[in-house]
């Protein structure tokens, strides 16, 4: 059989109609996101919104590592910290412009990713988890102990982000900057996912030995995933620094790493929509629960547990729609089978 000119899409259920529906959904969501600040002037809402976007960026980065390549990384905040601190130090002490600090931030993050990743990425997931956790702790400890990083107080009075002649100084401004980042990272993730890189990562996640038989150099590809995650994390950190104007080690600890993992898992591993939605949930839930005062994290915990028990695969599991398609198809198949299958008599008894 020669397949005609149309390219079979990779997402199985994505028939033409489905694709149009999905694209228009994306369009509507994008327009809604762009117009959102028109509907609220509250710096609080916009502040929460840009922090949610920031967490989305981080979740998209971690999704490459955990969701695609299947490596449990419990120290992802380290790359976030590296980006933020590089920007913080260079902008306050060396008076670099924020944009210019992104490059060295990414470079440092990549070097760190290579140093920590090279010897450890071959480890099994649980062992990797504790090593990455340790890496996160190490970066945080360094930030606390060094004078250059401002010790436990951190770095403050970080100048505002300027893009060309535009100074980004309001929550609305950062909302849009992060929105651009989210869209960029989501697109980046999608493209990677549908290329040989994405397939290689999934293969590694599913069965590492078999992946090798595909000619995939698993160690290299794990490292790529880790490095891509680091790049995304450090860029996000670089923008986070001016957005908050001050950074301190407390923001880059284990709990922050866990928050990012939570975002990815709540959304559904490996799913780009899931990562974004999960991040929104993780950022917004505790804010919504503010009326519970001191019990707000208790409520958050309960919500988290209930969510996981009810939807253990996350809110938007990878190929959620595919599962739906399969179910419909199975039902149809059963119906037709019921109609057409004559029941043969039991020969032993006839």
């Amino acid at each position: 059989m020669v397949v005609s000119g149309t390219m079979p899409p990779l997402t199985p259920s994505a028939g033409v109609g489905f694709r149009i529906a999905r694209r228009s959904l994306v369009g509507v969501l994008l327009i809604a996101a762009v117009l959102f600040p028109e509907f609220t002037q509250s710096p609080y809402v916009l502040g929460v919104a840009f922090q949610a976007e920031m967490l989305m960026c981080l979740a998209l980065g971690l999704n490459i590592v955990v969701g695609y390549a299947g490596m449990l990384d419990l120290g992802f905040a380290a790359f976030f910290a590296i980006g933020a601190y590089t920007t913080g130090i260079l902008s306050t002490k060396e008076h670099w412009s924020i944009i210019a600090t992104i490059v060295p931030g990414v470079a440092v993050a990549v070097v760190c990713a290579l140093i920590i990743g090279f010897p450890t990425l071959r480890l099994r997931s649980d062992y990797l988890a504790v090593v990455t956790l340790g890496f996160g702790e190490i970066i945080q400890t360094i930030a606390i102990n060094l004078n250059q990083t401002g010790g436990p107080t951190g770095i403050y009075a970080i100048p505002m982000l300027t893009i060309g002649s535009v100074v980004v100084g309001s929550n609305t401004g950062y909302y849009y900057v992060f929105l651009v980042l989210v869209v960029a990272f989501a697109l980046f993730s999608t493209r990677l996912r549908n290329s040989r890189l994405g397939r290689a990562w999934l293969c590694i996640r599913e069965d590492e030995d078999a992946a090798k038989a595909m000619g995939i150099n698993t160690n290299h590809y794990k490292l790529y995933a880790y490095v891509f995650g680091a790049v995304v994390g450090s860029i996000t950190g670089a923008i986070y620094a001016p957005a908050l104007s001050a950074i301190s080690p407390a923001s880059f600890g284990f709990s922050e790493s866990l928050l990012i993992v939570m975002a990815v898992a709540i959304g559904g591993l490996g799913s780009i929509w899931g990562a974004m939605f999960g991040a929104a949930v993780v950022e917004i839930f505790p804010e919504v629960f503010r009326s519970f005062a001191q019990a707000r994290l208790l409520v958050f915990g309960i919500a988290l547990v209930v969510l996981m028990v009810v939807r253990p695969r996350g809110l938007f599991p990878e190929r959620a729609f595919h599962g739906l398609g399969a179910r419909v198809r199975a039902r149809l198949a059963r119906r037709s089978a019921e109609r057409s299958l004559p029941v043969l008599g039991d020969m032993a008894e006839s």
């Binding site: 922090q51 401002g150 436990p152 107080t153 001050a246």
Partner: protein
């Protein structure tokens, strides 16, 4: 500092009570006039850690602020406006703090009294500064808080330089030259420890083991550090951190024979460690240990016999069924400071209140309170306390 000045302060504390009554009286006259008008509440935002590692301190400070507000409201509020505290959890996390402050600003607060961890206060400063609101911080003490280029930040807590100098003076007085300084890696503890290290060096002492050491605030085992202290030969130990770890440190130092009946070293803690829990948790091991603290600060009032402090302590216990913490009195004073400033300028308009805070002079629970140009507290006096028979007493002689 000497005994004489302490005596003076006992008198001062008497004045304080009078002062409070005056506040109440003057305020109540205004209320009497304005009662019919039913003025809108004076909204004060309180971003404070209510969850997470610092929840205890946050709660203790907030409670004291609440108490101050209630007392003031009972006497008619501020220029007729009843005080309303809007508390929001900042969890000592930068992002959460920014959200909390944004939320409070959007709710129209006229002033901020709160903040605990410098790291989560710093990113909120530009927001508050942009809104032109006064920010009085009861317990955050990092020098960075007032040097970030944002005006109208006021620090009630004088620790840092004061504590360090007091400790250095004590060690010098005791003839102790080898000193081991250790902090808890919090910005609070590090600020004091670094200042102490400078003062010790200036006083001719040596900070052994290569400078200030740190142990994470989450750690409760000091055995490795104690081994280091032993081998370093230090006879003075200065702990700059919180009471919980201080108690464990003291207990383990005592068990290891470094301090206590057979010990040769003196253990001094900074004011974050002055707390009833320190005494009860360390038990006998606390005896013979020292603490540096801003004069008259809470928690010690009962033993020191300050009347105002005693009143405060009793009232707090009655209201919240627990003891106040080391910074509760600072919280009380922060509210008082704000209210007195407003009264001084006869306005609750933020701009005017800011000006009022700059020219403020009064004696609070924690001693004389006024601010320098940058918003740091002026004229704070320090005490050295010694634990005798499970109680804080004023060390004799004062260094």
């Amino acid at each position: 500092m000497n005994r004489k000045s302490f005596g003076l302060r006992v008198i001062a504390s008497g004045l304080l009570v009078a002062g409070m009554l005056t506040v109440a009286a003057s305020v109540s006259t205004v209320t009497a006039a304005g009662a019919a008008k039913k003025l809108p509440p004076y909204l004060i935002g309180v971003p404070m850690p209510m969850t997470g590692a610092e929840a205890q301190a946050g709660t203790q400070i907030y409670n004291a602020e609440l108490m101050a507000a209630q007392q003031i409201n009972k006497h008619g509020g501020v220029l007729g406006h009843p005080i309303k505290l809007l508390e929001q959890d900042d969890a000592c996390d930068a992002g959460t703090a920014v959200n909390a402050v944004n939320l409070l600003v959007s709710k129209g607060v006229k002033a901020f009294v709160g903040g605990y961890c410098s790291g989560s206060v710093l990113p909120t400063e530009p927001i508050i500064s942009r809104a032109g609101l006064p920010y009085v911080m009861p317990a955050a003490n990092s020098p960075e808080l007032t040097t970030g280029g944002y005006k109208d930040m006021f620090l009630i807590d004088p620790s840092g330089s004061g504590d360090g100098a007091e400790a250095a003076a004590f060690f010098k007085q005791q003839g102790i030259t080898k000193i081991y300084i250790i902090d808890d890696q919090s910005s609070f503890g590090v600020a004091i420890a670094d200042a102490a290290a400078k003062d010790v060096a200036a006083a001719g002492g040596t900070v052994v083991d290569g400078g200030v050491q740190s142990i994470p605030a989450t750690s409760n085992d000091f055995s490795a550090v104690i081994s280091q202290i032993k081998s370093s030969g230090a006879t003075g130990i200065y702990w700059s951190g919180y009471f919980s770890q201080a108690a464990q440190f003291a207990t383990q130092l005592n068990a290891a024979g470094v301090i206590g009946p057979n010990g040769t070293a003196k253990f001094v803690v900074a004011d974050g460690s002055v707390d009833a829990t320190y005494l009860s948790a360390a038990g006998a091991a606390a005896n013979g240990t020292y603490a540096t603290i801003a004069a008259l600060a809470s928690g010690v009032g009962n033993v020191l016999g300050s009347h105002a402090d005693k009143v405060f302590n009793l009232a707090y216990r009655k209201e919240f069924k627990s003891a106040p913490g080391p910074y509760s009195a600072f919280g009380y004073d922060a509210i008082t400071a704000l209210v007195l400033a407003a009264k001084h300028v006869h306005s609750i308009v933020p701009k005017r209140v800011n000006a009022g805070l700059r020219t403020l002079h009064f004696v609070g629970l924690t001693g004389k309170i006024s601010f320098d140009k940058t918003g740091n507290r002026l004229g704070a006096t320090m005490d050295l306390l010694e634990v005798v028979n499970g109680k804080y007493t004023l060390a004799k002689p004062q260094p």
